[in-house]
């Protein structure tokens, strides 16, 4: 099996950030909650490999903990999307053409009609800014995406002979969806999950930029960007580093998603003549 180069790069970048986030759970070089004004805006050195910010906090530690919050939010949001969206999609495909299908699809259309980030801002502003509310706000918009992908994949499988064989064996739609359909659409879900993960990172960064994500003292890449705005001429490093972190993480996830799609998506598999 030829592993595409882009996928290896994407996997490496993603793994790097995941590793950083996991390590930050047990150890960071410096405490991110401690302010040390005396050490503010230091250039990179041995003690602070990426320098310090305007409050004297170590940039490297901030990035590490920020990675943790971004990944946590995006991951749980994808989890919500999968947990709610996949069963809905399977249900809609099993009852294709009936009122359940219509209901699920029109519900999807309804959610799609709203601009995701604006509504997420609305939700977090109304219910109070916090990481949890950010997760819920982003998660809601993942549900119709997974429902649509699942339904599309499931519909093309329902017509196959082995599903008919399962019906002849007396199995009902629920059982068939769980035993036959779901394992065969996992490919599509994995690829979509990677893509939604990267979108979740971006959404979380956007929400914390406007102050509605994880609250201080928990660092977040988006908020680091917002705080660095005023110092863009004096200490560009403060904005560049979180920005680069976001870009690299999303790039890695996109490359991984594309690479996985090339490998896993049966429609794209090159057929040997």
């Amino acid at each position: 099996m030829r592993w595409p180069a882009q996928m290896i790069l994407g996997a490496a970048l993603t793994a790097l950030f995941l590793a950083v986030a996991l390590v930050s759970l047990i150890w960071v070089p410096h405490d991110v909650a401690a302010l040390n004004i005396a050490a503010k805006l230091l250039p990179p050195s041995a003690a602070h490999p990426l320098g310090t910010d305007h409050f004297g906090r170590d940039m490297l530690s901030m990035l590490m903990v920020g990675a943790r919050s971004s990944i946590a939010v995006a991951l749980v949001a994808v989890g919500i999307g999968v947990a709610a969206g996949v069963p809905l999609g399977l249900l809609a495909a099993a009852r294709h053409g009936g009122w359940v299908d219509e209901l699920v699809m029109r519900g999807n259309d309804l959610i799609f009609a709203f601009p995701a980030l604006v509504i997420a801002i609305l939700i977090t502003a109304v219910f109070g800014p916090s990481a949890l509310n950010a997760i819920l706000a982003i998660g809601i918009f993942n549900i119709p995406v997974f429902a649509r992908v699942t339904r599309g994949g499931a519909l093309s499988l329902w017509r196959l002979d082995y599903i008919l064989a399962a019906r002849v064996a007396g199995k009902g739609a629920l059982r068939i969806s769980a035993e036959h359909i779901l394992p065969n659409i996992l490919n599509l879900l994995i690829v979509q999950g990677t893509i939604q993960f990267s979108l979740g990172i971006l959404a979380e960064a956007g929400l914390s930029y406007v102050g509605l994500g994880a609250q201080p003292p928990t660092p977040s890449w988006g908020r680091m960007l917002a705080e660095a705005q005023t110092m863009i001429y004096t200490a560009p490093r403060l904005a560049l580093l979180p920005g680069l972190a976001i870009v690299t993480m999303v790039l890695g996830l996109n490359l991984l998603g594309d690479g996985l799609r090339d490998l896993l998506d049966p429609r794209l598999r090159r057929r040997t003549a």
């Binding site: 196959l160 002979d161 082995y162 064989a165 019906r167 007396g170 199995k171 040997t272 003549a273």
Partner: protein
């Protein structure tokens, strides 16, 4: 004159073709016969230089002296569609679904001759009329999905012959078509060969088709031509054992099992009718429903093998699903062993257990993620899982000629014929009384088909099974059934003992079907070497 000399092909180091040599003469039909995997399609693709990545072609292929293997891609593009045309097996996937048929036929003209649009359209009308699609009935603005399979294949042929090529390659052109349509397409090809004086290379696995069409014949096995020559000579003498094996398998009939003793009916259908609601046209108008099955009645007795013959669209699949309890009926009733068959999942398990099914496509009939053991044991959902599931699975696999340890493998490790055996094992596992075989051998090669028919006959004798054998292939139905029903447009038009119906068909449609089916004569007159077309 197109010549191939010692053509050899390797793909990623694997030898695919070895020293293939033959000639194609203008005005003559050349038949290339072989089973799947023999390399016959690859030969055609090698001639057209449409090979996949990693291919290495050696040898010589010349068209009127010009060496095809040495031409650049641009020069080959000039030739394809212009001097060499090709038609494929699946007409629906060979046509662009979003372009009209007129546009697709005109495209060939516009690419090669730079013909302006209006003139190309006019010539497209002429070409389509030549292939039997006159403009009055088939406007140029039709889309492929609005045509039937045979009509689509005619459009593909029109595209291929629009520029009167020197060679037309037909790769299994009629395999996906019904018997009567097949006869028409083959007649069309013969007529075009005679009118244009072009060479036709007909690739097929069906000896009967090639016997009726080809002047010269070559038999391919594993990438090599094992026998070739004039059709009459090859099929009359059959020097190579492989040719003989193919010939015998084509006409193979398993030994008939002893006549069923019981006369008790197992399956009874009385005036079964199934309608599909037609699509709504306007907001308030709903046209009359489409009647897929109309007033069908028949009885299947225990131990009997009943054939159901019909072309595509006649309603046999709908009828199959209704018998299996998967479709509702708008009229009539179906009784299995005296009990009424209710539609939907509410059919009681003890009834479902008595009826099992084997499908046509060995590649789509199984969940690719499950192991064989689990696949074969799936019908136990109906009867409850027995104590020794593994033992029963092993028993079923051995009954179909496989081994108990195959239960641990995945389905992709098996060939088409082996998969059909696994499908039969799956059908046997609940010890049913009746098996519905829905085109179960249509997708198999000739020799594998003969083996599966033998297996089915053997199982019927051993376990006292009844079969409902649905097929469009008359020769298969003749080989394995006791009685036959002929279905057309949702109705049964003829019924009777298989041999009686075939020997003396009463209904005009049955006669049409039997006349259209290509026949491979059992004995070829020895010594007649020049007379290929007259023996059908």
């Amino acid at each position: 004159m197109i010549e191939m000399q010692n053509l050899s092909l390797e793909i990623h180091g694997q030898p695919i073709l070895r020293d293939v040599s033959f000639d194609l003469r203008p005005g003559e039909v050349f038949g290339l016969v072989g089973e799947s995997g023999s390399g016959k399609s690859m030969t055609a693709l090698a001639l057209m230089r449409l090979l996949p990545h990693g291919s290495r072609l050696s040898g010589l292929a010349t068209i009127d002296g010009a060496d095809l293997t040495a031409l650049s891609e641009a020069e080959m593009c000039d030739l394809r569609g212009n001097r060499i045309g090709m038609i494929f097996q699946e007409p629906m996937t060979a046509l662009n679904p979003v372009q009209t048929i007129g546009a697709q036929v005109a495209e060939t003209l516009r690419i090669h001759c730079g013909t302006p649009r209006a003139e190309a359209r006019a010539r497209a009308v002429e070409v389509l009329a030549r292939v039997g699609l006159p403009e009055e009935r088939f406007g140029l603005d039709r889309y492929p999905h609005q045509l039937s399979g045979g009509q689509r294949q005619r459009v593909c042929i029109a595209m291929a012959i629009a520029l009167r090529p020197a060679l037309l390659i037909a790769d299994e052109p009629t395999t996906a078509l019904d018997v009567t349509t097949q006869a028409q397409i083959l007649d069309l090809l013969k007529r075009l060969v005679a009118e244009d004086g072009m060479a036709l290379m007909l690739i097929t696995h069906d000896l009967a088709v090639v016997a009726g069409m080809a002047d010269h014949l070559a038999v391919m096995q594993k990438g090599e031509i094992v026998e070739s020559g004039l059709t009459g000579a090859v099929l009359g003498e059959m020097r190579h054992p492989y040719t003989r094996a193919l010939f015998e398998a084509s006409g193979h009939r398993p030994d008939p099992p002893p006549a069923p003793q019981e006369k008790a009916p197992l399956l009874e259908l009385r005036q079964v009718t199934r309608d599909y609601p037609a699509a709504r046209r306007g907001l308030f108008r709903r046209p009359a429903p489409f009647r897929a099955v109309s007033d069908v009645s028949f009885t299947l007795r225990r131990g009997e093998s009943l054939g159901l013959v019909g072309e595509s669209g006649c309603g046999k699949s709908t009828l199959t699903r209704a018998i299996l309890g998967l479709e509702e009926l708008q009229g009539g009733e179906i009784r299995l062993d005296g009990e009424k068959v209710a539609a939907g999942q509410h059919m009681p398990a003890h009834m479902r257990r008595k009826m099992q099914v084997v499908f046509q496509d060995p590649y789509g009939s199984f969940n690719p993620r499950w192991r064989v053991g689990r696949l074969v044991a799936e019908p136990f959902h109906l009867t409850g899982w027995p104590e020794d599931t593994e033992g029963r699975v092993a028993e079923a696999l051995e009954a179909v000629g496989l081994q108990a340890r195959d239960a641990a493998k995945y389905i992709h490790e098996f060939s088409g014929g082996q998969r059909q055996r696994i499908a039969i094992a799956r059908a046997l596992i609940t010890r049913p009384e009746m098996i519905v075989l829905d085109e179960a051998v249509s997708a198999l090669d000739v020799r594998v088909r003969a083996q599966i028919l033998d297996l089915l006959a053997d199982l019927r004798a051993r376990f006292g099974l009844s079969y409902l054998f649905i097929s469009h292939d008359l020769s298969v139905v003749r080989a394995i059934t006791d009685r036959v029903l002929v279905m057309r447009a949702g109705r049964i038009v003829e019924r009777g003992g298989t041999e009686a119906v075939f020997a003396d068909p009463q209904h005009a449609y049955t006669r049409e079907l039997i006349a259209a089916a290509p026949v491979l004569p059992a004995h070829w007159p020895q010594g007649r070497t020049g007379d290929a077309g007259a023996l059908v």
